[in-house]
């Protein structure tokens, strides 16, 4: 968890807004450091986290989280973290080896046209109070110990490249929002990655990830958009983050935006206002 980002977003593990959909996106940059931030943030806050790991393996997230002071293995053993390691499970699904809840969630791998209803059922089972599904479920009592549920998805663009349509991904996101954010008052964080330039007048041949990004931006409460610096590569500043609050307390679309630059270190990331990097000042 990055303390400077918490200050920017005005949150802390003890006090954060519930029922929010946070959209993390990047364009020709890598915003996955923000996913690690949110993962460690919500684990420290004591929430029950359901993590759909589509881009990396569990050991990768575990190694990074170790440096941020959180042990994913321990969280998994305690039942606080439910990790769906898609990379691992996908091979079993494609080779039709076993048939368990995880493989049913991934039936879109064999036929993308089916959509993501199976994956949604898996998510709903993981976060709901009834605690149905999962072999390590210790009964109904485990869920009550933890705070509100949190769903983290890294990342949704992988689904597009697996052949799932943009409409199916948006429907999946809608249903997860309904269950996690609206009904259970939890939070949801998704990552969408875009390639290519942002072109306002492009339509028709728009890439799937652009449409997905726009669709999710309409749904979400907070966006964090990571890009490289417009002036080019810099060793001391890795890029810029644009934070945009779409819905404030009174739901006025004031669209407050703030732009920060960041640098990713070994054990975290630092955020600063433009032009105030320690290398510059």
């Amino acid at each position: 968890m990055f303390p400077e980002l918490n200050a920017i977003l005005n949150t802390s593990p003890d006090n954060f807004k519930q029922g929010e959909l946070i959209l993390v996106s990047d364009r020709r940059a890598d915003a996955s450091f923000l996913v690690h931030h949110f993962l460690s943030f919500y684990l420290k806050a004591g929430c029950k986290v359901c993590f759909l790991g589509l881009a990396q393996s569990f050991s990768h997230y575990s190694a990074v989280s170790q440096r941020l002071g959180v042990s994913l293995t321990q969280a998994k053993e305690k039942g606080q973290l439910l990790f769906l390691e898609v990379l691992n499970e996908s091979l079993d699904v494609l080779l039709q080896k076993t048939s368990n809840t995880e493989s049913q969630a991934l039936d879109f791998l064999r036929d993308p046209a089916v959509g993501l209803r199976g994956l949604y059922d898996f998510v709903r089972a993981s976060v709901s109070d009834s605690g149905v599904g999962g072999e390590d479920d210790g009964g109904g009592g485990t869920v009550g110990r933890w705070g509100p549920p949190v769903l983290l998805v890294d990342d949704l663009t992988v689904l597009l490249s697996l052949g799932v349509s943009v409409g199916s991904v948006l429907d999946f996101s809608h249903y997860c929002f309904v269950t996690v954010c609206s009904q259970l008052k939890g939070n949801m964080v998704t990552l969408v990655r875009c390639e290519g330039e942002e072109d306002e007048d492009e339509d028709g041949d728009e890439e799937g990830s652009e449409r997905l990004l726009k669709g999710l931006t309409h749904q979400c409460c907070l966006t964090l958009h990571v890009q490289g610096l417009p002036t080019g590569f810099c060793r001391d500043i890795h890029g810029q983050v644009e934070v945009c609050w779409r819905k404030t307390q009174k739901d006025k679309p004031s669209n407050q935006r703030k732009l920060f630059q960041y640098k990713v270190h070994d054990k975290g990331a630092s955020f600063f206002a433009r032009g105030t990097s320690s290398a510059v000042l």
């Binding site: 309904v178 309409h218 739901d251 006025k252």
Partner: protein, 296 residues
């Protein structure tokens, strides 16, 4: 024109609010709903993208009681058991049964949030057919919907807007709490009026129009209002006093060829160079000054 549409004096029909990721049209939609409830109309809301909690937040409890809320948010595709309202129920027969369930003689307003969700799941032709039948049917006086124009192909947006009586396109304004609405209204006679207005929405959902409607296409009226004096708020002085202005005008510029300069040049000064020329045998030396006919 925006206020007339909200007050419902323009006679209903199909009103579409087009928004984008830069500015959400939902608050304006709420203003329309609140105004319709104030006029004691029966308002049905088909909410695909809005949940009841959020609606309560925006409209307040009393308005929510009078509104006929149809929950299409929780299960629009029927993935769970007993969905309250699915997107596939957006057909004339289902809507008619929904709208005529209450026997009122008051005018009915149907609000849809949003058309974008419906268009993702139903074909545009089916949606257009349903909207046209609603318009002709007479059960509904006004149909009002939100459309995210950046989510669809331009042609799809165009075909839906073609059916509309009025299309409001909202975009963020220059100031923080302001937005710009471009309104296109088609009268029954066929006349089309357009206007661009700046507006802001207060906490109680009333819309305040900041400027008079500017007919679209008559030039950038907006730019004039926002002109800022560049010589203001500086740490140094860029303005001239009258004395300074006079002195500036008196000053002779160095490379301007004025009368004084010319006479100074023509007068041979002391120590100025003289050219001594010894003509060669081959030279055609003409004593006459070739520049004699010039009149400087």
């Amino acid at each position: 024109m925006l206020l007339e549409l909200i007050q419902g004096t323009e006679g209903g029909g199909l009103i579409i609010i087009q928004d984008s990721i830069h500015y959400s049209g939902r608050t304006l939609l709420m203003s329309f709903i609140k105004a319709a409830l104030k006029r004691d109309e029966v308002v049905h809301l088909l909410a695909f993208e809005l949940h009841e909690e959020e609606l309560k937040h925006e409209l307040g409890h009393s308005c929510l009681q009078r509104l006929k809320f149809h929950n299409a948010f929780h299960d629009p595709l029927g993935w769970n058991e007993n969905p309250p309202f699915t997107v596939h129920q957006f057909i004339t027969s289902e809507l008619d049964s929904l709208l005529t369930s209450n026997q009122h003689s008051k005018p009915v307003t149907l609000v849809i949030d949003s058309f974008s969700f419906i268009l993702r799941h139903l074909s545009p032709s089916a949606v257009c057919k349903t909207l046209q039948q609603l318009k002709k049917g007479g059960a509904v006086k006004t149909t009002l919907g939100l459309l995210h124009s950046d989510m669809h192909h331009r042609n799809m947006v165009g075909s839906i807007c073609h059916l509309a009586t009025s299309v409001l396109t909202v975009a963020p304004g220059h100031q923080c709490h302001e937005a710009v609405a471009k309104t296109i209204w088609r009268a029954k006679s066929g006349k089309i009026s357009q206007a661009m207005e700046r507006f802001s929405i207060s906490d109680d959902m009333t819309v305040k129009v900041q400027s008079k409607p500017v007919p679209v296409g008559s030039g950038q009226g907006e730019a004039g209002d926002a002109e800022v004096d560049p010589t203001a708020n500086l740490t140094f002085n860029l303005r001239l006093s009258d004395q300074e202005r006079q002195a500036k005008e008196k000053l002779a510029l160095p490379f301007v060829f004025s009368k004084e300069k010319k006479s100074a040049l023509l007068r041979p000064g002391p120590g100025s160079g003289r050219i001594l020329y010894e003509p060669d045998a081959n030279d055609d030396y003409d004593q006459e000054d070739p520049d004699d006919d010039l009149d400087i």
